[in-house]
Symmetry: none
Subunit: 221 residues, 4 copies
């Protein structure tokens, strides 16, 4: 038989698919173009995936897998809010650099999907982190680690919103230009991390009690 597509080829196909879908959008992306870019014929593409939708789903699935993978790394850290936040920010920066296409595709999908499909997708993609963040913040509030006059769900939402916009700002031309406009040029990763942590730290804590608690610790030192 003619040589079967190697695993790498299949991976490349998905990567190119993700890239095309992210760049041109699911409608405009051309199956022929993706096949050509991957050095295969349209025929194989259709041997492996029933149709454009199925191929798109596969690209999306891979994207979500990768993003979930990046998330798990963060989740596995200790539960303290601040260190978690720092890890998350750095993960966003790394993923944006290494896997910008994934984020771009995610943005496209998020911007385009509608109706029940949107709901299904949101559950699938955001479910884990939503629950995790909410639980973590609720716990932190009980511990006195963060203020207790906040709604864990909404604060988790705001927290994730900041990370999400960070993602978009790193991966999308538009949002990057916007970020640069705000910062008066491309911001330094480290500085941005530091400032965002400061923003979050302050947002979450920073009730006098927490500060007092902190002060106590520091005093002890």
């Amino acid at each position: 038989m003619k040589k079967k597509l190697t695993q790498e080829k299949l991976g490349e196909l998905l990567e190119n698919g993700i890239s095309e879908f992210a760049l041109a959008g699911p409608e405009k992306a051309s199956m022929a173009a993706i096949a050509k870019k991957s050095g295969i014929s349209v025929g194989v593409l259709y041997k492996y995936y029933r149709d454009k939708d199925a191929f798109f789903d596969a690209c999306l699935e891979k994207t979500l897998d990768e993003l979930r993978g990046a998330l798990q790394e963060i989740e596995s850290r200790d539960g303290r809010m601040l260190s978690g936040a720092q890890a998350a920010i750095e993960a966003v920066q790394r993923v944006a650099r290494e896997r910008g296409d994934y984020l771009r595709l995610y943005l496209k999908i998020a911007a385009s999907s509608s109706g029940e499909y949107a709901k299904k997708l949101a559950d699938e993609i955001e479910g884990v982190s939503a629950d995790l963040y909410r639980a973590r913040i609720g716990q932190a509030a009980k511990n006195g680690e963060v203020r207790d006059d906040l709604d864990p769900g909404l604060f988790a939402f705001f927290f994730d919103n900041l990370l999400m916009m960070l993602q978009f700002s790193y991966c999308s031309d538009y949002f990057r230009a916007r970020m640069e406009r705000f910062c008066g040029g491309a911001p330094d990763d480290g500085a941005l991390t530091e400032q965002l942590l400061k923003f979050l730290e302050s947002a979450f804590a920073f009730s006098s009690a927490a500060v007092a608690h902190h002060e106590g610790e520091e005093a002890a030192v």
Copy 2:
């Protein structure tokens, strides 16, 4: 008379265009459908706009005009950070309700545009508010109204990010589903506003405790 009719028709045309582009996406939106919905022939549509792209640009322009209009209302308020924030949040909620199409289209564009065009667009859309927020925050820091150990540009960026995600969460099916997943159901507008203000207030160290802390520091100095 004839002109007036045309003027009205043109406005309707743009509205329908915005609606279609926002709903179906720039690729999938049909020129014929838009013309029909507006009660004119495709011919006229092409008489006024060279091609689909040009028409799309016009729709975008109108969208941005409207959004800028909404923004100006907020900007014209007094310069105190907190009241500004509250006004902005409420403006977002109102616009999302009244002009969801504009926000949906904006999201589509932000997710799609690339290269130089993205930059141009971002400057045009975000320029004013970016500059305004940065200046306002810088001023507030000088006044001791907010912490002074923060970068005005980045904090303006974070602030606007939160508003932007709020917009998306109100107008896009996907982001709405995500918000509901975080909040365990559709959040109440008032509660959300309150909590977000709390978040911001704290982030900017508005809270008396933080201020007191600051004051102490400053007194020491």
Copy 3:
């Protein structure tokens, strides 16, 4: 507006469709080829007919209308079996000459259709003549015009079978070749008519004259 397709163009389109479908078969016939042959673009074809199937149905409908029209002419004659048969044979010959494509398409469809569709089609196409022939033969049997020991349905069936094969033999290359093989060359229309009438006349044992003639012959022997 650009000139709307004239009625003639539309007629031509159907004719070319019928011709292509009859020649190449519904599967192989190419929409593009039909459009080109008709001097129009594929686009119009799809403006007038939803898809290939719809266009095919239109072609078939026209075919059946024409064939039914030819049939009606015969049916409107007086009810005597023999003159009806003669008219039918001559109609077949004329239609085969003038509208061979219709018969060819009919043959293709008859050969191809299956399942419930076949039943529906057969009812639509053959229903009228089946009922008519059966009634006419039943009546003729009562009148003593034809033998009364025959089943009107089956005899109508045999009668129509002979006409049907005549159709096929005139319009299909294969059946024409077969006919010529049987006859040792292309048969003369008049001779064929005469002989077929003789065959039918005898089969139905209508004409006392024919019987008398026979008697005479036999008596002579």
Copy 4:
């Protein structure tokens, strides 16, 4: 051993080919499906047959061989017209039951082939029986067994036409539905045979009894 397996496989391949071609039509039948059904790879199929057309020809050839075989059985009987006719009708009924695919494929071909190929095919398929029938009828006319005022070729043609339509009516969905429409339901094989024989007998004016019967009636009048 190996060869035997191949021989079996080849037979199976042809059977499956005939079945597919008869069912789906030459255009729609899929080479891959036929190979799979036969438990071989497409590769071997193309090793044995240059292309789809060649394979189709082989299927056709086998079909014709089988049909000729069935015919020979009838032809080997004694030469009396009536018993020959009865044998032929019963053979048609049996073949339709046992080898419906052959007849369906034959019908497809007859409906599709055109030009020189049609002629070649008709000669090959119909040649023998055409000659046989003509000769037999000519002889019967000389013997006084049938009327002598008929053209042996045309009468043979009419006779074969009736058998052919019987074939079609037994094997094709369309023609079966048509037959049932004429008969008011599925006819009984025996009744059909009896009536068709009556029709033929009368057409050829064979039976002295029928004539006598008539004579009696007429005398009474």
